[in-house]
Amino acid sequence: MEKNKDKYVSVFRKSFSLDENFDVEALSYQDIPSWDSVGHMSMIADLEEAFDIMLETEDIIDFGSFKKGIEILRKYNVEIE
């Protein structure tokens, strides 16, 4: 479980180029310039690769925050916490 969380956090850090001190857990879509539509699709692609899943359209557009993402990934049997 802890490993999934690490993976999840590191996808966020990498996709939105955030350093280790940045609090990703409070992050929502468009909070920072790098989480725009291009960044969003890149983050989704990285998550799909990291957890070997394919997200449905509905889930891709609903993926509006770090916290919401945890709920969504649960549907794909990925437990973050």
Binding site: Y29, P33, S34, S37, V38, H40, S42, E58, I61, G64
Partner: protein, 468 residues
């Protein structure tokens, strides 16, 4: 420009449910009349919100001359524009007010404030000049395109004609309003008495689609990257009964995606229209009619009503034979007055005289349809935005002293070649900050030396092997 009093219906509605009728906008426009003395230059920091759009309508209708830029543009780049043009007024989102010491707030309307310069500046502007747009919005270049009232109206009328925009239409915003394509949607729908659905949300967000569906949006517009995202979202599976028209401009869509959307539109009784334009032509120059979208995949069609296309060979002679590549030339009432690079240029007469040398290389098939095949000028489109490669080089060289660099690449992929590996991370960070483009647009490559010829000019052709 817009006959606001001719319509009773809702002109704009935002995603918080706030809406304004044409009559209400007309009354705001009237209130603003007394604030201005003579014609003034304004800088508008735009977003797709009620305040932003009302300001724009009001300024144009009261013959004030706005420069439109994105409200998210880096503050140092905004300051460069202010230093060059010294506008008397700023129209900006309330929260940006404290950034500008030389101005004081004199009025608030919705989410926007009007700021006035403490030291007024008399600027001599040509009487036909209506609007100034940037050539390369993301780099804050002082080079602006001068659009006249006649240009805007001419382009509006011909777009309404070929897209058949009607009062009952509802266009949803998907592009920034300071971007010529986004602005053309606003201009035309207001002229036709239609409704504009304003949102800052993008197509990857659920709120966008909820807003779309709840308000039965009828049209939708996108740059190639928008259509790539929609494809990944499996757009064809979305149920959008209200949607009538999908337009595409801002660069060349891949042939595969063109075909896919043309097919989708055909099967779902919608129209998919590929278009071509430039800020220098107000917005639009060409379009491929929906009923030809499958037959002429990859084509930009032909000139819009009232305009004409032809091709020039290297001696500027007109090419008459089909399938020969030449530079695309456009003539029409929407060809703008030219550029401005300084305050004094705002008084200039029409430099283009109705003829635009596009800088795009194209060919025409035997049925008269045009195809863009390349570009003469050194620029790329990044997510639909024009980015001047020389300007990026200049920015880097300015802010990183003693650096050797060269920029090249292809659409959505900018390559920055440098010789000092220590700068790699910083340059990427710098460009993301300045342009607001997502990191994957930038690729930094470190070379032993930048290839140059005997006279010291960079040999860009030798850089191609690193990205092709």
């Amino acid at each position: 420009m817009w006959k606001l009093n001719d319509f009773d219906n809702v002109a704009v509605k935002d995603d918080n449910g706030k809406e304004l009728t044409y009559k209400q906008i007309a009354s705001f426009s009237n209130d603003f009349k007394d604030i201005f003395n003579g014609r003034n230059l304004l800088l508008c920091l735009c977003k797709n919100s009620i305040g932003s759009i009302i300001g724009y309508i009001t300024f144009i209708n009261n013959r004030q001359v706005p420069i439109l830029i994105n409200s998210e543009l880096d503050i140092s780049l905004i300051n460069q524009l202010l230093a060059t043009y010294k506008p008397n007024y700023l129209w900006l989102p309330k929260e940006k007010t404290p950034y500008f010491d030389e101005y004081e707030a004199i009025l608030n309307l919705f989410d926007y404030n009007l700021l006035r310069r403490k030291y007024f500046n008399d600027i001599n502007m040509h009487e036909d000049l209506a609007l100034l747009l940037t050539t390369s919005g993301s780099t804050g270049s002082p080079k602006l395109v001068r659009q006249s009232y006649k240009n805007i109206e001419s382009n509006i009328k011909s777009i309404i004609d070929y897209l058949s925009i009607e009062k009952k239409d509802k266009a949803i915003t998907t592009l920034p309003m300071n971007y010529t394509y986004g602005l053309s949607i606003i201009n035309t729908h207001l002229y036709a008495g239609a409704t504009i659905l304003l949102t800052e949300k993008s197509v990857v967000s659920k709120d966008f689609w909820t807003f779309f569906k709840e308000n039965n949006a009828t049209s939708f517009s996108g740059v190639p990257y928008t259509y790539e995202i929609l494809d990944k979202l499996r757009f064809e599976r979305m149920n959008l009964p209200s949607l009538k028209t999908m337009t595409q401009a801002g660069g060349k869509l891949s042939l595969t995606l063109h075909k896919k959307y043309a097919n989708y539109a055909l099967e779902h009784n919608k129209k998919f229209i590929v278009m071509y334009g430039q800020t220098e032509a107000t917005a639009r120059m060409g379009y491929l009619p929906a009923d030809k979208s499958l037959e002429k995949i990859g084509s930009i069609g032909n000139a819009i009503p009232g305009g004409k296309f032809y091709l020039h060979d290297t001696d500027s002679k007109i090419i008459n034979e089909p399938d020969v590549i030449g530079e695309l030339i456009y003539e029409g009432g929407n060809v703008t007055m030219g550029y401005a690079q300084s305050i004094t240029d705002l008084a200039r007469n029409d430099d283009f005289n109705g003829i635009l040398v596009t800088g795009d290389m194209a060919k025409r098939d035997s049925d008269g349809f045009y195809y863009i095949v390349g570009r003469k000028k050194r620029f790329l489109k990044i997510y639909g935005n024009r980015v001047n490669l020389d300007e990026i080089e200049r920015m880097i060289k300015n802010d990183f002293t003693f650096i050797d660099c060269a920029c090249s690449g292809f659409d959505d992929n900018l390559y920055i070649f440098i010789t000092d590996k220590n700068h790699e991370v910083n340059i990427k960070k710098y460009l993301i900050e300045k342009t607001n483009f997502y990191q994957s647009a930038f690729n930094i490559i470190c070379l032993d030396k930048i290839p140059i010829n005997d006279s010291g000019k960079i040999l860009y052709s030798e850089l191609e092997k690193y990205y092709s």
